[in-house]
Subunit: 432 residues, 2 copies
């Protein structure tokens, strides 16, 4: 029996998505149906522990062995014919944004689970083991580093740094290490591609953007990911009375920050990149006091590393110029938070996705696409052949409860994932 004829259970994956969403963190009602909510399941929270326990239970029932690594990432490994070689991996994340939807990340892990369920039901034994990975803290929402655990595994960041990250969503900040221990997910497997290797990494995800929908495509063959850089920008002016301080005597940090935000957008537009400010804090925050201090995050993106660097440089220059023009004593500082370089996925993996998608839906329904967002696959692709599959997102909405893909789109993507992974499993065998 060839893997292209495996019998699938239509609808079950979507049921599992809704079941876990409803049980573990449903939040943000956007429609009358029970399933029309988003999910808030911050990494290493109690809800995250619950969905992790559930996931381990489900995969164990399928005969998987479980490893938990030092960053809490879960590797649920389904045996193949030859278990002496590293598994082919399907990975993504079960954590969500505070205003997350039901699909981002979750769709990837649960599609992996559905692949295993399908193998089991069809009594199909792959050539090599297949592992489904739940990477810890992909979102970077609770602890401010996205793609955290996969970056530790790829040795692009060190353990101490991530263990000491402090939560930004708790009134009393706690560390990653504290929360790993608290929920019982500080594992003993070394978080390292050397010590806990995989052969390749596949990830299916919603596009989170409007391109596939606008072009009426079913599947995006993801060939890479744009670069992005995060900074914290601190504008220091002088708090002063709104009623008695003439414009000429002001050092209005918020007015300066407002001009910077508008300018950042202009620069990014000019360079064909993106610029966004997601967080802005000011003090003293009183109606009749001109803000003396404003800090905001800057999220800049571009498909080319060089152009991203240029975007950031221009923003720094222009912001400094604005701060000088905006008041007697305004200054601006930039703290680098994170940079993710542009990523090109592996031709072998891209080919598996491309062949599978084209065979299933035809040339006209698929297209190559660059991911706008970072994913755990960015980290894995630094070490092992990697690629991704996208399905359309309604209105391109993501990081929002209204995130939505149709049941058909969800199913289509899963089928492409199933075939891609098994095609890769076959490729490995052919090359042996």
């Amino acid at each position: 029996m060839t893997f292209r004829n495996l019998k699938i259970k239509p609808g079950r994956l979507l049921e599992t998505i809704h079941e876990t969403a409803s049980s573990f963190g449903a939040k943000g009602i956007w429609g009358p149906e029970k399933t029309q909510t988003g999910v808030c399941r911050l990494t290493l929270s109690d809800l995250d522990k619950q969905v992790r326990d559930w996931f381990i239970n489900e995969t164990k029932q399928l005969g998987c062995s479980i490893k938990i690594d030092e960053a809490g990432s879960i590797f649920a490994t389904y045996p193949g014919k030859d278990n002496s070689l590293p598994p082919t991996a399907i990975g993504s994340h079960l954590d969500t944004q505070p205003t997350g939807g039901r699909y981002d990340g979750v769709y990837g892990v649960l599609s992996g689970l559905e692949v295993l369920r399908t193998l089991k039901e069809n009594q199909f034994v792959p050539n090599y083991p297949i592992t489904v990975i739940n990477w810890t803290n992909e979102e970077g929402a609770r602890f401010p580093m996205s793609i955290m655990a996969s970056s530790l595994w790829s040795e692009q960041v060190d353990k101490k740094t991530i263990y000491n990250l402090k939560s930004v969503t708790d009134s009393e900040p706690v560390t990653v290490e504290h929360e790993l221990k608290r929920i019982g997910y500080l594992g003993d497997t070394k978080a390292s591609y050397k010590h806990n290797p995989i052969a390749a990494h596949f990830e299916i995800h919603i596009e989170q953007g409007p391109i596939l929908e606008n072009e009426h495509k079913e599947i995006g063959i993801v060939t890479g990911v744009q670069a992005y850089a995060w900074y914290k920008v601190k504008v220091s002016g002088k708090a002063s009375h709104t009623g008695t301080t003439p414009f000429s005597a002001r050092s209005d940090a918020l007015l300066a920050a407002s001009k910077m935000i508008a300018k950042g957008n202009e620069i990014a537009t000019k360079l064909g990149g993106l610029f966004s400010v997601g967080i802005l804090d000011l003090s003293p925050a009183v109606v009749n006091v001109i803000p003396g201090d404003v800090s905001f995050t800057m999220d800049a993106r571009h498909v080319k590393d060089e152009t991203l660097a240029q975007l950031v440089e221009e923003a720094k220059l222009e912001f400094t110029k604005i701060s000088k023009e905006s008041g007697k004593s305004i200054s601006v500082e930039f703290d680098h938070i994170y940079t993710s370089n542009a990523v090109k996925f592996h031709p072998d993996c891209i080919k598996c996705v491309s062949d599978s998608a084209t065979q299933l839906f035809g040339e006209s329904k698929v297209r190559q696409i660059t991911s706008g967002a970072g994913h755990d696959s960015c980290a894995t692709s630094a070490r092992v052949p990697t690629s991704m599959i996208f399905i359309p997102s309604r209105d391109g909405v993501s990081h929002n409860p209204e995130e939505y893909s149709t049941p058909e789109q969800v199913e289509n993507g899963f089928q492409v994932l199933l075939h891609s992974v098994l095609q890769y499993d076959q490729l490995r065998k052919d090359r042996e």
Copy 2:
């Protein structure tokens, strides 16, 4: 003995200012000296209760009778020769901003106390009683209505409204009524100019702006107060992913708000008024999520009521235009918080201040001035002859710990107040 020869105790007023600042809420160190801090003494807080208790004790020792009204305002009345007529009042406030200095408000009340101390020591009995008033919640920082208790007394706002105001600086908001009861300052004197009348109201205050300092003047004879209007502006867009949402598909509420803030400043500059945003909140507040909702306060000012109305109208029009231009589905709403009309002070009171200031410091050292900020005197002037005295503020800084006037300036202002009030006391007698 004429009041112009009263013996004063130089330095004592400043000592009292520093003593109360250090004892009741010192905060915000800006220099090495013990007195180089600001004060945070939010209205109806425990610290506010302590300074009130202290104030009542001090004035009782001078022979004052004490009334507390329904809004917690304290009237400490020093007897005159004829106590059948209402007192001449010296009023201001002992509450501060969260980032307040040592002078704003406090200087006014403690100068009143120093007037009474001076009368007592000189055994000078005025023709009519003199009352020193500590008005509750002038700042509007903890409960969002400035000039609160004096506006109740002038019957420009009703008791229910102020009793139900909710604190914005407590993590668990409480009401004005709750806090009045809690600190034991819900008095039984009706808060009304009809039931608890005064004959006139004098207030000394720091300028809180740079004009007197820039022009090397010692005293500002305040002839009126500019109008101001406060609004809450709510910008609704759509939260979405920063990496995957092209500019064309965004409804970025913060970008729109930033453009509004810059535009508001332009409009105010054009009209010769002021525009400031002191508070800005956004959600969801995640580095890689475009803010879906932003709300900010708008503080608009002008010396003319009509031009202020025009400023607000233009802002509303332009903000609506910006919201339409800024994304597929952005909208903007305006909630009116408060409007204080332009105020013209009373010629009799202005004359008393003008005569006293000129006699003490000479024509060249005084000037007439319009107050940029609202004061309790705005409320009283709706009902009784009122005027104010300003002293210079270093760098025009206020609502900031670094608020500063020199010891000499503090003393100068006090002398003008002393003479103005007693000249008015004499004027009342002359007119009887």
